[in-house]
Symmetry: C2
Subunit: 352 residues, 2 copies
Amino acid sequence: MSYDIAVIPGDGIGNEVVEAVEPLLVDVAAAHGVDVSTTWFDWGSQRYLDEGALMPDDGLDRLESFDAILLGAVGHPDVPDHVTLRGLRLPITKGFNQHVCKRPSYLFEGVDSPLKGYTDGDIDLVVYRQNTEGEYADVGGREHRGFENEVAVQASVFTREATEAVVRPAFEAASERDGKLTNVTKSNAQAHSMVFWDDIVEEVSEEYPDVEVERLLVDAASMDFVRRPDEFDVVVASNLFGDILTDIGGIISGSLGLAPSTNINPDRTYPSMFEPVHGSAFDIMGEGVANPLATVLSGALMFDHLGEDAVADALHDAVAAQLADNDAPRTADIGGSAATVDVTDELTERLI
Amino acid sequence: MSYDIAVIPGDGIGNEVVEAVEPLLVDVAAAHGVDVSTTWFDWGSQRYLDEGALMPDDGLDRLESFDAILLGAVGHPDVPDHVTLRGLRLPITKGFNQHVCKRPSYLFEGVDSPLKGYTDGDIDLVVYRQNTEGEYADVGGREHRGFENEVAVQASVFTREATEAVVRPAFEAASERDGKLTNVTKSNAQAHSMVFWDDIVEEVSEEYPDVEVERLLVDAASMDFVRRPDEFDVVVASNLFGDILTDIGGIISGSLGLAPSTNINPDRTYPSMFEPVHGSAFDIMGEGVANPLATVLSGALMFDHLGEDAVADALHDAVAAQLADNDAPRTADIGGSAATVDVTDELTERLI
Ligand SMILES: CC(C)[C@H](C(=O)O)[C@@H](O)C(=O)O
Ligand SMILES: CC(C)[C@H](C(=O)O)[C@@H](O)C(=O)O
């Protein structure tokens, strides 16, 4: 098989990890008889600073024919965060109906969790995060009602279609894994949106009688990711709650530098997008020390999505073996002092 | 001085901890020459199940003349969470302009954090949570737009007045403590409400040139409560984000069973309310094993608010001494097997 992949390195360390990882992905695929060709797009904050837009007006049209998109990171100290979000990630995730953000948290052997010594260290969960609406709907306004009481309103919008689009794959996954789904909402305080969400989860659950559903409020869930992370299997949550939970999931499994992410268009009419969870990290930009493994694991999830299981498994297993090997180079975020390219060089050797 | 305190034990273990702690608070106050008289209200979910309302229509009128309110917990398996919230806590916090929910997270000597062995164990932070609006505004609706696209909308409402009402005390506290304030928002994804919030924080910061302000997104902040909890001092956040962060704050400092909470009316025109962070915990109800210390510490914060520092300090110091004492009784949530009353009996002995 052959695939055309759009590559958007973006900002900051996004460039460093994507540049280090892209050749590895192409070569490993080739070693498995899978032909990958990549097209690079220099979209991101620098383009915004130079030309006034993070991507061109016809950006989605240019991306649409690709089989998948590999993204580095977007975010720049000189550009407000909401400008970068509205200028690139939101248009792509919303425009391509990438309703599902699937993010595994997995504690690899050889990696220290801050919870080491407290849990058994058995963290292997996956969060299905709604990815196109909810608290990110970007609806609202700000009004002056006299000096004393200026008001801002931010509306979350939840549709049945886009909610079902993430709830159903979460049940699918739970039924293939341990048969347990944790549904995270805040139905006590946000009864309009979250009771709606709970109702949909309950309806869909009838199609999956083998899956046991646990309900948790987001505050309790955030606490329980620390208190009893080994008890979670599949978690389904809104856009904002999924965002929060997956950052906690990242740190309890050692580092955001190991956390991959996917933005999946469930009906496959559009390309899906794969990226590390970490951001552009300008504080370490240019030093060549960013952890490339989150991007490698995102690549593995990309091949998994494309149906190239052998490539996906090879990548995942090589990362696991390298992390378990105390003598292998590792970056500072997981206790080493190696450079980004040392890690990908070693991984390439293991793989090819 | 003498004080009239309204006591609402509420549901589940709320009753158990309040019954165990109230006499202790009254006696310790008396030992310091402070006269406390309490009036009990049997409001809560049982009243709702029997009579259709958690509290009477004139509930606020009945509470208004008290100097403070001590609440146990509200929540019942047979009553939807949003019914209990709208039926008691929201009317009180909103009705009495209790804009500030101040919640310390403090890791006592003798208590194990799940992060033990990872951090130095030096956790001493306080969250100022907006308590009357924001994501809890309870504005929204649900609409059918044909079967395929039913929609629910939940609006967050932020006013300048109620935002300043929590931001200013947070700066006050930061300027009295370590001079560092962490402002937690999600301005990238919720630009309407959160940029407004950020603007207010920036404006108020001009009055406190001695306070250094750090900005964090809520996902990063949730992660950093685990990654580097010792670096936080004063944190200011919206209603929802404060809710999430204080549950994480509770677990990293050992247990929600040690986490106190306050609902403060900053201009003191109405009574403030004090309560443990933990809920009604029906799973352990009736066993007499709930940790009473969160309620004791909430009582300490109550006396602190009333200006009775000697009583507040005595309570806090006795809790600290008892937790540091390996031979003292402790409840199951912090590794012991003692009953609720064993803990309060021992504490009474230490104090009187
Ligand atoms: C960059 C930001 C908008 C994004 C999000 O909140 O979705 C990030 O935190 C993530 O988790 O991918
Ligand atoms: C009971 C619930 C409504 C409440 C909240 O979300 O505020 C609780 O979680 C808390 O933190 O006190």
